[in-house]
Amino acid sequence: MTSRTPSLKNPDSPVRAALRERPVEGKLIAVEGLDGSGKSTQLYLLKRWLEMQHLKVFFTEWNSSIIVKNITSKAKKLKLLTPTTFSLIHCTDFADRYERQILPLLRAGYLVLCDRYIYTAFARDITRGCDPGWVTRLYRFAIPPDITFFFKTPLQVALARILDGRPNLKYHEAGMDLSLSADIYESFKIFQGRILDQYLRMVKPYAFTAIDARRSIEEQQKEVRKIVSEKIDLPAFKWKVKR
């Protein structure tokens, strides 16, 4: 893993130091944003575009470790989680995917696409009352993305996209554990508003690439593809073996 550094001020520094010594060949692209911001659709379209160019691509999403996700969903159903264990169990899920897939694939020279990355945890855990310094240090083993797209939508737009169908919101998804409101839809609105505040605070310090998600899907995708091809030398990620 990483070596010791005297300062805790920069949570990414041990990883950065290790990467300077032994850089990964791959590139990491993450998408972040509220539920209903359209980020998953945009990442899917980006993935299709990269695959069609015969590039080495790997996609992974939040809360999907085979080993951990069953524990998490059971614990959520039984309402066993506190903000601290909610945070730790999601970090465990992330760590499993990180150690098993994200990092080895980056070493192998892949374009790794993440639907939600550590910033999702920062936004949610801090909103739930975990100490911001504690949460950011918890994830200090993780490589910062080469590009973090933040799909920026006004709260009302994101809420409308999710709530128009009157979906069955899940308890934690709606932040019901925070006792914001007894009404699940009302709770969801307040919770999403707080998450958005956290995201907006992170735009600068974590160098998010903000995408105006009020525009059409096509317009956004055009911009996403343009940024990716400018920042990453895509032909270098072509399969070396014949497929």
């Binding site: 893993m1 080993i67 264990t85 990180y98 504690w134 240090r137 083993f141």
Partner: protein, 236 residues
């Protein structure tokens, strides 16, 4: 980080837990650390019985006993399918669940909490596996600072004897086989236990353990622990 007088108020090592005021924790937290085979569980039983005979209510906790993840964690250890950071976090989740649901409520209610291992074993295991120290220390900043931590220190050779006496086998994880120190399990056990002990000695300089010579008989060790715990007890 050294512990002050026995009657001092509770603190957390770091940021602690959301919405828990450490001053509300009235009970005592007694931790017994030491490797498997150091006589740790025997001492926990002795002390529990002794304290109960004197009218103290006891709650005992240990590693891998949480309602949240202990079953899954035991399953995973059978198959050793996790990478080191993930395993660290699994143990941290197990600890946090017990801290919030058992240790803190018991301390608030004035119980004496007897912990058969605490964060120090978890930190030592992570650190000898190459974990980033500040990372580990920050995670366990959630922990309550115990009133006393006994470290049962034993030489590796008698430790091997006691392990064989109990099970006629060495445990894969207690031998640190995942570290690749040696392909010979006996050799690996000795080397791994030395590494853990060295890490405990380093932590002792920070956290101030009460080091107990566990090469002696269980009875002698128990008398020493009782004498030291006596000082922590409220005068009756």
């Amino acid at each position: 980080m050294k512990r002050r007088a026995a009657d001092s108020a509770k603190r957390f090592y770091g940021k602690g837990l959301p919405d828990v005021n450490p001053e509300s924790l009235k009970g005592k937290l007694i931790v017994i650390e030491g490797p498997d085979g150091s006589g740790r569980s025997t001492q926990v039983e002795f002390i529990k019985a002794w304290l109960e005979s004197r009218g103290h209510a006891i709650v005992d906790v240990g590693l891998k006993r949480s309602n949240l993840v202990s079953k899954q964690l035991s399953q995973i250890l059978q198959g050793n399918v996790l990478n080191p950071v993930t395993l660290s976090l699994f143990y941290a989740t197990d600890f946090a669940d017990q801290l919030e649901n058992i240790i803190v409520p018991a301390l608030k209610a004035g119980f004496m909490v007897l912990a058969d291992r605490y964060i120090y074993t978890l930190m030592a295991r992570d650190i000898v596996r190459g974990a980033d120290r500040p990372w580990v220390e920050s995670i366990y900043g959630m922990a309550v600072v115990p009133d006393v931590v006994f470290y049962l220190k034993i030489n590796p050779k008698p430790l091997v004897e006691r392990n064989f006496l109990k099970n006629a086998t060495l445990n894969y994880w207690e031998s640190g086989m995942d570290l690749g120190l040696s392909r010979d399990m006996f050799d690996s056990f000795i080397r791994y236990q030395r590494l853990i002990q060295a890490e405990f000695m380093r932590m002792h300089a920070i956290y101030g353990f009460n080091i107990v010579d566990a090469n002696r008989s269980a009875r002698r060790v128990s008398l020493e622990l009782q004498a030291k715990i006596e000082n922590l007890l409220p005068q009756s």
